[in-house]
């Protein structure tokens, strides 16, 4: 493909929907309305573990203005049959059935028991209060380590351990014997809440062709299959129309409102609408898995890692959901981006009666990063070695083999990233008063992009030229606000040689746009970008063939820019794109293409010892932070932040920076203040008053440094940035705190209270 340099790719072009966003024109999921709509609300359990002795909805159903009250009896197939979110092929080993409405038992506070549809949201709320329920409380289990014991109450079936993954490479005993220093520590990470600004919401109706339409904010339009399975309908009779999403981060990946909406519209035959309240988003929606991680790392005196042994335990909450996968990610990523010859990891995910845990940006990679980067700094301190130098002695290089025996397929620019991150912090800030200490921390990360290879991931995209040289791209990929549509617009515009503003991307409609899979797993650019690239190249190829004929020139001499097909050798030889299009139309040559991109496929995983290719590739990066610690209160202030990421190729520079800054802020929240708290399975953090996310005063001016190795598998050598942006933030903060005041930070978030007690322990070790 003859493209010497790019006009659009790699620039800071404006996005396709930003103008509408600032004008207030976007119709988000809750902004849409239809005449004659009913409003739905979910009736949820207020006990974490109980039998349902009585559930009487008759008074609620009798309330004037209530159209229906549904329980499990009204659900044709109450257990969602799908194994895997958004998956198109069959997979084994990772069953994750989800129950729509509880039957005879509730297993977590907030479990849905019934759904109401009424003439107004207020009436729906009143109806909820009229539902009568009697619980018989059952013993519950709220700690995953307790839950692993044979005598623990069982959440489902007869074993609370629902997933176990292992890494076995080399011989760790031998490795530890070779080590001069061994560092052994335990780490804990919190339950993090997505806290996207837009609540889960949407509408459903049955259209005039008898199709159930669900218009809502989702990261997975393929959920129409789940809805069809639950309702007992053919998949072709359910359509999902994804809206522009007001933030997802994995929180809109599992089933949210769609099944409730579909059930209510199916029952009442009227349009229905619902939105979760912020409190409901707390206790009723899944969180990031909290982990307990026990790490033992061996290293030689000159800084070479010899062995790593770890045990990871994650709290799966009351239902399996995506826990086994998250655990798999954590296991593979548990070594960090370091070449360690001897590795032994055992990871477990355990059911409890706590809030559900499932997908969240990072998907298990962040928890591991907190552990492995904390270990690296602990080792550096033991050895008296510079933390950057230690890491450089151990970073992977392209072609190295990981602990799951796959070769790193792309360039690893971690040396450069680590150096640039620390350098960009600039001169060290002096403390602002005698109580405070300033410290700096670095963390390096690896985070996969693209789904696990045994899932046989594909994405499709359709590109077509209009008669006037503008173009339409149809692609199912949902837009989270990270620029998913923008990237494919840029790719099509670049390859078709037309202005960015003349490409329109229509996306996220399961019956109109070719399915491109989920917007998760940092796969959107990689998969839908590559699919769009294929389709654009095919259309381009048709144009160039015809133009070559019309100009009587060899095809490989031609290029297209600004709607002119021209010879790269003889500048006077050119033709308007529109003329070529018209000729194609006259000759019946189609200027559209539907293409499917396939990621690397690997064998289905059959053993819980992970061996062989699991991921397509990784994004490598580093973050550095400068903090100030108040030794009298434990408060930590972020003074400076830098993120350096190798994104392969930046399709849109502004977007990449935006991901780096936004991901870092979310990661810094994870490290410093975010903790979704429950006690005995009952919520303590109810809403955004108690669950603290960073505000503008908490995040300093962040520097984003983009590296481009061009070695990724995405379009034009791109990798992915969505998740990698968040992975290293929290360990960077923890390392900075350790540097400032020399305390252990075994647990995040590093709240003022935790830091305070560590400071006291350091002053008086006898305490």
């Amino acid at each position: 493909m003859k493209k010497s340099n790019f006009d659009i790719i790699g620039t800071r072009a404006d996005g396709c929907d930003e103008k509408d966003k600032v004008l207030g024109n976007i119709v988000y999921a809750e902004d849409y309305s239809l005449p004659d709509t009913l409003y739905c609300k979910v009736f949820r359990s207020t006990k974490p573990s109980a039998l349902i002795k009585k559930l009487d909805t008759s008074r609620a159903a009798a309330l004037e203005g209530v159209a229906c009250v549904l329980t499990h009896e009204d659900v044709p197939n109450n257990e969602s049959a799908k194994n895997v979110v958004g998956q198109t092929t069959e997979v084994g080993l990772l069953e994750a059935k989800q129950r729509i409405l509880a039957v005879d038992r509730v297993r977590y506070y907030g479990e849905p028991l019934a759904v109401v549809a009424a003439e107004s949201p207020e009436l729906a709320g009143e109806a909820l209060e009229l539902i009568e329920i009697e619980y018989e409380e059952l013993p519950g289990v709220f700690d995953p380590i307790e839950a692993m014991k044979p005598e623990a109450p069982k959440v489902h079936g007869d074993n609370n351990v629902i997933s176990n993954w292992q890494l076995r490479k080399g011989d760790v005993e031998k490795g530890f014997a070779e080590a001069d220093v061994i560092v052994e520590k335990e780490y804990k990470t919190p339950r993090q809440e997505h806290a996207h600004m837009e609540p889960e919401a949407g509408m459903a109706w049955i259209d005039d062709m008898g199709v159930v339409n669900i218009r809502y904010c989702t990261q997975v339009i393929e959920h129409y299959r789940d809805v069809a399975a639950v309702l007992g309908l053919p998949e072709s009779r359910v359509r999902t129309i994804g809206t522009i999403i007001g933030g997802g981060f994995g929180g809109k990946e599992d089933l949210t409102v769609e099944v409730f909406l579909a059930l209510c519209t199916w029952k009442t035959r009227r349009p229905v609408k619902m939105a979760f309240s912020r409190e409901e988003m707390g206790f009723g929606r899944q969180k990031r898995h909290p982990y307990i991680m026990r790490y033992k790392t061996g290293v030689t005196r000159d800084g070479r890692l010899t062995a790593m042994q770890a045990e990871l335990i994650s709290d799966s909450g009351a239902y399996v959901m995506l826990s086994p996968w998250v655990l798999l990610y954590s296991t593979v990523h548990s070594t960090g981006p370091y070449n360690i010859p001897n590795v032994k990891v055992d990871a477990y995910s355990v059911l409890t009666n706590n809030v559900m845990t499932s997908a969240f940006r990072g998907f298990g990679g962040m928890q591991a990063a907190f552990a492995y980067e904390s270990q690296m700094d602990a080792i550096a301190r033991e050895l008296g070695m510079d933390p950057v130098e230690l890491r450089k002695k151990n970073f992977y290089r392209r072609g190295d083999e990981t602990a799951n025996f796959q070769k790193i397929p792309s360039d690893v620019l971690l040396d450069e990233a680590a150096d640039k991150a620390m350098e960009a912090l600039g001169p060290k800030s002096p403390p602002s008063d005698p109580h405070r200490r300033v410290g700096r921390g670095l963390a390096c990360s690896w985070q996969s992009y693209g789904r696990m290879t045994y899932l046989h991931d594909t994405a499709s995209s359709w590109v077509g030229l209009e008669m006037d040289g503008s173009a339409v791209v149809r692609c199912g990929i949902p837009d989270l606000g990270g620029g998913q549509r923008e990237s494919i617009r840029a790719i099509a515009a670049e390859l078709l040689g037309i202005p960015l503003e003349e490409v329109h991307v229509i996306s996220t409609d399961s019956q109109v746009t070719p399915l491109a899979g989920t917007v998760t797993a940092t796969r959107a650019l990689y998969m839908s970008g590559n699919a769009t690239k294929l389709a654009s190249e095919n259309v381009r190829s048709s144009i160039l063939s015809k133009a070559a004929e019309m100009l009587d020139l060899p095809v490989n001499e031609l290029d297209i820019r600004n709607k002119i097909v021209y010879s790269t050798e003889k500048s006077e030889k050119k033709i308007d794109l529109v003329k070529v299009i018209r000729r194609c139309a006259a000759e019946g040559i189609s200027l559209q293409s539907l293409d499917t991109y396939k990621a690397e496929f690997s064998e289905e995983i059959k053993s819980n010892v992970i061996k062989g290719t699991v991921f397509n590739d990784w994004t490598f990066g580093a973050q550095a932070v400068e903090v100030e610690v108040d030794t009298g209160t434990g408060q930590v202030t972020l003074l400076k932040h830098v993120s350096v990421q190798d994104v392969g190729r930046a399709i849109n520079v502004k977007r990449v920076e935006g991901q780096m800054e936004g991901g870092a802020a979310q990661g810094l929240g994870f490290g410093m203040m975010e903790d979704y708290l429950e006690i005995q399975g009952t919520p303590l953090t109810w809403n955004l008053t108690e669950y603290l996310v960073p505000t503008s005063k908490d995040i300093p001016d962040s520097k984003s440094i983009i590296l481009e190795s061009h070695s990724g598998k995405g379009p034009f050598g791109a990798k992915g940035i969505g998740e990698p942006a968040i992975t290293a933030s929290a360990p960077a903060v923890a390392n900075a705190i350790r540097d400032a005041v020399g305390i252990e930070v075994p647990q995040i978030p590093a709240t003022p209270e935790r830091v305070f007690w560590e400071l006291q322990a350091k002053k008086d070790p006898a305490q």
Binding site: R12, E18, K19, L23, G24, A195, M197, G662
Partner: protein, 163 residues
């Protein structure tokens, strides 16, 4: 169950909007029920700022205001700020600086920023950060929002000097 309702007229973006509302209905619900869906409900508890409008010149949480408290008063939403053909410098700056990702928090931020620049035309970055600290954003990390507001302030000043 008294079910009292009251007449209310709120001047939204310079248009009278009439309704009959219960005492406890929030200004946010009143606006959204009257199709001003650009005003967002993020938390309905005063914690996130997505519902921010300008009421009598002050950036105001509409979820913490009863609709009847706005009776006879002027409320401005983001749709009063600019149009497709002529955006407000704040809107242009937000686009230029990529201060918008998912866009859900954006209308609230723009109203807070507008009220800020109306009362303090030359805010420092620290003053900007303070002024927007009641508006939460989960996507951007705030840096580009601060950049955009700073740039808009400069652009407004340049225009007024030229004018």
């Amino acid at each position: 169950m008294e079910n009292a309702v009251y007449d209310v007229t709120v001047y939204v973006n310079d248009r009278p909007v009439k309704g009959r509302v219960p005492a406890e209905q929030t200004l946010l619900d009143f606006l959204r029920d009257n199709n001003f869906t650009e005003v967002k409900k993020g938390c309905d508890n005063g914690d996130c700022g997505a519902c921010t409008v300008i009421l009598d010149g002050i950036a105001t949480l509409s979820c913490c205001t009863a609709a009847l408290q706005a009776d006879g008063r002027k409320v401005y939403t983001v749709k009063s700020l600019g149009t497709w053909d002529k955006m407000h410098p704040l809107q242009e700056a937000f686009v230029k600086h990529e201060a918008v990702q998912c866009g859900f928090c954006t209308p609230g931020f723009l109203m807070t920023a507008k009220a800020l620049l109306d009362s303090n035309p030359h805010p420092t970055r620290e003053e900007i950060r303070e002024a927007i600290s009641g508006n939460l954003c989960r996507c951007t990390g705030y840096v580009k929002i601060v950049d955009a507001i700073e740039d808009a302030a400069r652009a407004i000043e340049e225009t007024s000097r030229e004018g």
